[in-house]
């Protein structure tokens, strides 16, 4: 029972500190909501498909902003938090206590994943009520699978990037320099159908696009077929393994001297 109690205590602490850190909480929680509201207000009434059976763009933006929220909660949040904790000497302090490393890391991951799920529920609720996003064709099972695998992948990548970041000062710049361009070329903010082929090819190497498309297609099955669904899952799984290996290999308890 002791490990379970330790995990819950640590989880409660991660949660408390996250919400008290208002800047981090704002960027992680408010940003996807605000972005979704703006994008839906501007583009939400446009639709694809024939006029008798229109698919409004809000049906595209709700899962897209779910992807943005999960990436923020898992990747950005963990990468920043871990690299800053390490630089401030907080990880080293943990290392000197009996708290097992597995509990320390699991608490961070579980907190990030739960935060991501909470945001997804908020986004879908707001999207359906305010912007008529269609969920009648939604494949809940597939949506959940993509969500869980995507969360795991971006947590692993967050830990991996944290391990590679040289110091806390460089942390926000490095994390945003990786996340923002990828978000823009990965069908999250705008459809990339008209983008040059090479740009689409670059986007399809990285996990962000597959996560976004996976959520979109399970939200509205017409958007893609089952082969694409497996490709999305496969690429995400591959990046999960890469992230995990890099994180384990390069993890540091202390800042570089």
């Amino acid at each position: 029972m002791k490990p379970v109690r330790l995990l819950f205590t640590q989880l409660a602490y991660e949660n408390l500190v996250f919400w008290r850190n208002s800047i981090a909480a704002f960027f992680t929680v408010a940003l996807p909501l605000v972005m979704m509201v703006i994008l839906c207000l501007v583009f939400g009434n446009q639709h694809t498909g024939d006029s008798s059976n229109p698919i409004y763009l809000s049906t595209f933006y709700v899962p897209s902003m779910c992807a943005l929220a999960v990436i923020g909660a898992c990747f950005t949040n963990i990468a920043m938090e871990v690299s800053i904790s390490r630089d401030r000497g907080r990880l080293k302090r943990y290392r000197g206590t009996p708290l097992p490393t597995s509990i320390l890391v699991s608490a961070k991951i579980v907190h990030a994943v739960m935060l991501g799920f909470f945001l997804v529920i908020c986004l879908v609720s707001v999207g359906v009520w305010l912007f008529d996003a269609a969920i009648d064709g939604m494949r809940i099972g597939m949506f959940a699978v993509v969500l869980v695998l995507g969360s795991a992948t971006f947590c692993a990548l967050g830990l991996a990037i944290a391990a590679l970041i040289p110091n806390a000062e460089a942390s926000p710049a490095i994390v945003q320099a990786i996340a923002l361009p990828l978000l823009f070329i990965s069908d999250v903010f705008l459809p990339m159908n008209n983008a040059p082929a090479w740009l689409q090819w670059i986007a399809s190497v990285f996990p962000v696009r597959h996560f976004a498309l996976g959520l979109q297609s399970s939200f509205h099955p017409i958007l893609s077929g089952s082969i694409e669904a497996w490709v999305n899952l496969g690429v995400l799984a591959l990046w999960f393994v890469v992230g995990l290996l890099v994180a384990i290999r390069f993890f540091r308890w202390e800042p570089k001297r």
Binding site: L6, Y13, G89, K92, G96, T97, P98
Partner: protein, 305 residues
């Protein structure tokens, strides 16, 4: 653990960073219940030594045993019995003093009661305050409170008062004396000699990766020779056996002595015979502070030669 074992036992410890030899063959035993200080200037190897004992660094050669454990193995039973106060750590900015200590307590099987920890660290009044509103000295006391949370048998304190104002240092010393009352073994590093004189049972002076002197603070201070000083207007010369060791400033004379009784005997008989008044005759021993400065200066000269 056998009955006669030490809290800390170090044998022929070596540690290098690249070409730089930080620790060059240290042997040391610290008794259970002792407050022991590693004393030395920056770069002497104090932090390297203490971080090897804490398990953060691996020795290149030599053996280290702490409470019967090998620190580098990071065994949980070992972590249960030690408390670590690192040189540079920031506490979580978004937790109050009380919350931070409670979180730390949750990691241990038999933590100290919260109120005892806060009282020992002198933080009872500040329990609801978050670190950004604490002074430097108060934040450092919070570090110590966190180190104490698990009720450790052995507490490591790496430069607990560096950067403190004199008042905060007095408070910190009182706190260290509280630890003695709790029966803890404490290993601290410091470059303040007065700190060691106030709180430590024994100290080792480190310089250039080696222990150059070991003993109680009084013994360390005694390693410097006592000085006999007086004021007089001399129109005749001092006795020849004293004249070589004398330094004179206006009418004030200082004699360094390696045999105090003999020096005083020669000096006073000479003054009586010649009817010379020795004003303000006194014997002073240099404090550990001055002794330390001289010791390390001598060592430095030895290296340059």
């Amino acid at each position: 653990m056998s009955e006669n074992s030490y809290a800390i036992e170090i044998k022929d410890l070596h540690k290098s960073y690249g070409d730089f030899e930080a620790v060059r063959g240290i042997d040391l035993q610290v008794e259970v219940g002792e407050i022991f200080a590693l004393l030395g200037p920056n770069g002497a190897g104090k932090t390297t030594t203490i971080e090897i004992l804490e398990g953060f660094l691996l020795p290149d050669s030599g053996t280290v045993r702490v409470l019967g454990f090998e620190p580098s193995k990071h065994e949980r039973p070992y972590k249960e019995r030690i408390g670590i106060v690192l040189q540079q750590t920031e506490v979580e900015q978004f937790l109050s003093v009380e919350e931070a200590v409670q979180l730390m307590r949750s990691y241990y099987t038999n933590p100290l009661p919260l109120d005892d920890i806060l009282a020992t660290a002198g933080l009872t009044e500040l329990r609801k305050v978050r670190p950004p509103k604490l002074s430097g000295g108060q934040q450092r006391r919070l570090d110590v409170a966190l180190g104490l949370a698990g009720n450790p048998d052995l507490l490591f304190l790496d430069e607990p008062t560096t950067g403190f104002d004199p008042h905060a240092r007095r408070d910190a010393w009182d706190m260290l004396k509280n630890l003695r009352n709790l029966g803890k073994t404490v290993l601290l590093t410091s470059h303040y000699m007065d700190e060691v004189e106030h709180v430590a049972d024994r100290a080792a002076v480190m310089f250039n990766g080696k222990i150059v002197s070991l003993g109680t603070p009084k013994e360390l201070a005694r390693e410097s020779e006592p000085t006999v000083s007086f004021r007089a207007n001399l129109n005749i010369n001092l006795p020849p056996e004293l004249a070589t060791k004398v330094t004179q400033l206006n009418s004030r004379y200082e004699l360094e002595s390696d045999d105090l009784v003999k020096t005083l005997h020669v000096l006073t008989s000479w003054s009586i015979e010649n009817d010379i008044e020795l004003e303000d005759l006194s014997i002073t021993r240099r404090s550990l502070d001055e002794a330390f400065v001289q010791m390390t200066q001598d060592m430095g000269k030895g290296l340059e030669d």
